[in-house]
């Protein structure tokens, strides 16, 4: 009996895991069901589906990058005030005077770019696999929204350093909304809080970037994963049904 087994069998272990035995598949399944962290996974999957050939693990990669972004982003928030007079100086201070400041900012930046790549690649992969077809149309739809949210998160974050790159990219990017017929001007005014990119824009983008968009994203990811788990044995069923 291994050490883990004896830990699980102790009084404390039982209170945590509830199912101390790991002998049959049934025990393991019970342990799986009883585990909060594993509840986003199905208990079983087809061997083929977990091979690298089938899944390029782009979804996992996106999730990991999102985790890295949240962790590094929270760190950055400790040193940043979203105001045109302070923002740029805060970044300089972060890079020069804060321990690992430049490094964490690099991690945030590269994770963000990689997440856009990973999410887009995930979507392309899902297309080629035909994973958008019934009955999984709705999860594809959520995926489209997740891609848009990822782009918006990256775009709102782009403004925050308040350097020339940020200022003009956001000026040009938000100017496109002006060409939306009828409501264009109003939409832009609401987005940037005025007629020019300025203090209000920075504040709005900051709130969107650190609160609104991340919570929307995580909420939709939960639905996305739940659907994925429910549908994970689908192909097995389909195959059995065809026999």
């Amino acid at each position: 009996m291994s050490l883990m087994d004896s830990i699980r069998k102790s009084a404390v272990g039982r209170s945590i895991w509830r199912t101390p035995k790991r002998v049959t598949d049934r025990d393991r399944a019970a342990a799986h069901w009883g585990n909060f962290f594993l509840h986003i996974y199905p208990v079983k999957m087809r061997r083929e589906q977990i091979s690298f050939k089938w899944s390029w693990f782009l979804g996992v990669a996106s999730m990991v990058l999102y985790g890295s972004l949240v962790a590094s982003g929270v760190y950055l928030m400790f040193f940043y005030v979203p105001s045109p007079t302070t923002a740029y100086g805060d970044i300089i201070f972060l890079q020069t005077n804060v321990a690992f400041g430049q490094y964490i900012r690099n991690i945030h930046r590269w994770s963000a770019h990689l997440m856009v790549v990973a999410v887009a690649a995930h979507m392309a992969k899902m297309f080629y696999r035909g994973a958008y077809k019934p009955p999984r149309e709705f999860n594809w739809l959520i995926g489209v929204v997740l891609l848009i949210l990822t782009l918006l998160l990256s775009f709102t974050g782009y403004l925050l350093p308040w350097d020339q790159l940020a200022y003009w990219a956001i000026t040009v990017g938000t100017s496109m909304t002006e060409f939306v017929p009828v409501i264009g001007d109003t939409v832009r005014a609401m987005l940037i809080g005025g007629t020019e990119v300025g203090a209000q824009t920075l504040l709005r983008f900051y709130v969107l970037h650190v609160a609104v968009l991340p919570s929307l994203l995580i909420g939709l990811i939960m639905i996305h994963l739940w659907r994925w788990r429910k549908d994970s044995m689908l192909e097995v069923d389909v195959e059995v049904g065809n026999e």
């Binding site: 000026t171 040009v172 938000t174 100017s175 609401m190 005025g194 007629t195 020019e196 209000q200």
Partner: protein, 147 residues
């Protein structure tokens, strides 16, 4: 309920008062040139004069919002972002912009030109004839930097 929610948040998200610009005191009318333009950073624009009329131009490119610099050698506005070109009073010449440069409404208060940056008059759409006859007088700044 949903209607009320949309309506309130629509209202709520409108720009805060004072953020959408306002009157800016600039210079006296006789300081405004008629051959070239006068850049006024505080109003984010240019002042110039044509046929006795003061023209107060917004420097934001009507294409995607870059600042359109004045090119002294050619005597026209040339946007480096995607190459839109406008004449001295901001009328469309070429490029991907869909209209001429915008203008601000202005008043003359105590002999000083006061454009109001919250009151924007859209530029005339592509195809409108130019009101001044000033062909490019020299090499364009766009060409010079693209080499």
């Amino acid at each position: 309920m949903a209607g009320a929610a949309v309506w309130t948040s629509w209202d709520f998200l409108q720009p805060v008062a004072g953020q959408a610009g306002g009157p800016v005191a600039t210079v006296t009318p006789d300081a405004v040139p008629s051959e070239t333009v006068l850049e006024i950073p505080s109003m984010r624009g240019y002042l110039t004069e044509a046929e006795g009329e003061i023209v107060s131009l917004r420097w934001k490119c009507p294409h995607l919002g870059c600042k359109v610099p004045w090119c002294e050698s050619s005597g026209q506005f040339e946007c480096p972002c995607h190459g839109s070109v406008f004449n001295r009073v901001g009328e469309y010449r070429r490029g991907p912009a869909a209209r001429g440069m915008d203008r601000y409404e202005y008043e003359i208060v105590d002999g000083i030109i006061v454009p109001d940056t919250s009151k924007i008059i859209r530029g005339a759409p592509v195809g409108t004839l130019e009101t001044i006859n000033e062909p490019p007088k020299g090499p364009e700044c766009l060409e010079a930097t693209s080499e």
